[in-house]
């Protein structure tokens, strides 16, 4: 369904090459996008632009999404990148999240979330560090205190973006949230 890459992947951000996660200096969010703390030669799964995936995704390697994903992505020890062509309607949990495409759903970053200038995101962001480049479109809540987010429920697992008032009423009437396929394809 998606291809694996065990060799270095062409970097989609020439200005931001991968680097080791050690002691990265604090960056100006508008002038120097942070370098992604991704191991240089780490294997990475790729969901190509022609792939549409519905379900829960988990595994033990980094993920690059250029296709469409709906459901959940859980890679808390790895990085997830949504490329410029990627369309994700899912709750995403990762160590580092980098968004260039469209995301509709809550994002949880163990370390960092970066919205590049081409990003279109609607949902809540929970991470100790959040960087938003000028030009990125975002609507939602940013919580950089993950413990607080969990306490208030913002960080609780969700199945999609915050519903509008009309949707809230319809859900309370018994309709379920977005369906997630029972199949859980593994990325490893």
């Amino acid at each position: 369904m998606w291809k694996r890459e065990n060799e270095p992947v062409p970097n989609p951000h020439p200005s931001a090459p991968p680097s080791a996660p050690t002691a990265a200096p604090r960056h100006d969010p508008e002038t120097a996008p942070p370098r992604m703390p991704t191991p240089v030669a780490a294997s990475r799964a790729v969901i190509g632009p022609s792939i549409e995936l519905t379900g829960e995704l988990s595994g033990s390697e980094d993920l690059f999404v250029e296709g469409k994903v709906q459901g959940k992505i859980r890679l808390p020890q790895h990085s997830v990148t949504v490329g410029a062509k990627g369309r994700v309607s899912a709750e995403v949990q990762a160590r580092v999240l980098e968004i260039e495409g469209e995301v509709d759903g809550h994002l949880f970053g163990e370390e960092l979330i970066v919205l590049r200038k081409s990003a279109r995101v609607r949902g809540d962001l929970v991470a100790p560090r959040v960087v938003i480049e000028d030009g990125a479109k975002f609507k939602g809540t940013i919580d950089m205190e993950p413990k607080r987010a969990l306490a208030t429920g913002t960080g609780a697992p969700a199945t999609g973006p915050r519903p509008l008032p009309a949707e809230e009423s319809s859900r309370s009437a018994g309709s379920a949230g977005p369906s997630v396929a029972s199949a859980s394809p593994r990325a490893s």
């Binding site: 100006d28 969010p29 508008e30 919205l115 560090r129 959040v130 960087v131 938003i132 480049e133 000028d134 990125a136 479109k137 975002f138 609507k139 939602g140 809540t141 940013i142 919580d143 950089m144 205190e145 607080r148 987010a149 913002t154 915050r162 509008l164 008032p165 009309a166």
Partner: protein, 207 residues
């Protein structure tokens, strides 16, 4: 082009933001500089990007045409969600005098009793065709970026009308910058032991 201007009212509002645990509502677009600033303050930030949301919603046929019914869609909050600080920078002029009262009511009901509503309103005869972008440089300094070279007539918002439009709030502090932008810090009237002003009524055209 970005030019920095003093914003003493913002400094006051930010100084009163609870740390950690403050809650901020930014009606403008998400800007990295502001998010980074609130990260340092360990605040939770809700970004609405109101102007773009209005454009988006206007394109959706499913949204009711009546403005009052649109506002809860545009400003959708969690149950019980309240804010210590609300930022509305250079927005009332663009939302318009007819539409702003519904936005104001929604904000007032979500402002914490000790919260602050920081408002920037251009007071000149003309204004850029699109809202300017404002970034926090320091607590008392804002960077203004004019993103549109075209200009449009600017509505006039007298100080008294600003207070009337925000029922239950008063503006104990106001500052006119050299760049023609009036800065207001609105707070609940009860905090100042003042009676709220009368509710603003939309203007009627003379026949």
């Amino acid at each position: 082009m970005r030019v920095e201007h003093p914003a003493p009212g913002l400094k006051s509002a930010l100084d009163h933001l609870p740390r950690p645990g403050g809650s901020v509502l930014d009606l403008g677009p998400a800007l990295g500089a502001n998010i980074a600033w609130f990260e340092k303050a360990r605040a939770r930030v809700r970004v609405v990007d109101l102007e773009r949301s209005i454009d988006d919603e206007a394109a959706r046929e499913a949204i009711p045409a009546i403005w009052e019914r649109k506002v809860p869609h545009l400003l959708a909050f969690d149950d019980g969600e309240r804010f210590d600080l609300v930022l509305a920078w250079d927005l009332p002029n663009y939302v318009g005098r007819e539409r702003w009262p519904a936005i104001a009511r929604r904000i007032v009901e979500r402002l914490q009793p000790a919260g602050s509503f920081h408002l920037l309103v251009r007071v000149g005869a003309e204004m850029p065709a699109r809202p300017c972008l404002y970034r926090i440089v320091e607590g008392g300094l804002l960077s203004e970026e004019i993103v549109s070279t075209a200009v449009a007539p600017a509505p006039r918002w007298p100080h008294a009308e600003i207070e009337k439009l925000h029922d239950g709030l008063v503006a104990p502090r106001s500052h006119l910058g050299k760049h023609g932008v009036q800065e207001y810090v609105l707070e609940h009237a009860a905090v100042h032991n003042l009676p709220p002003r009368a509710v603003a009524q939309p203007r009627r055209r003379a026949r």
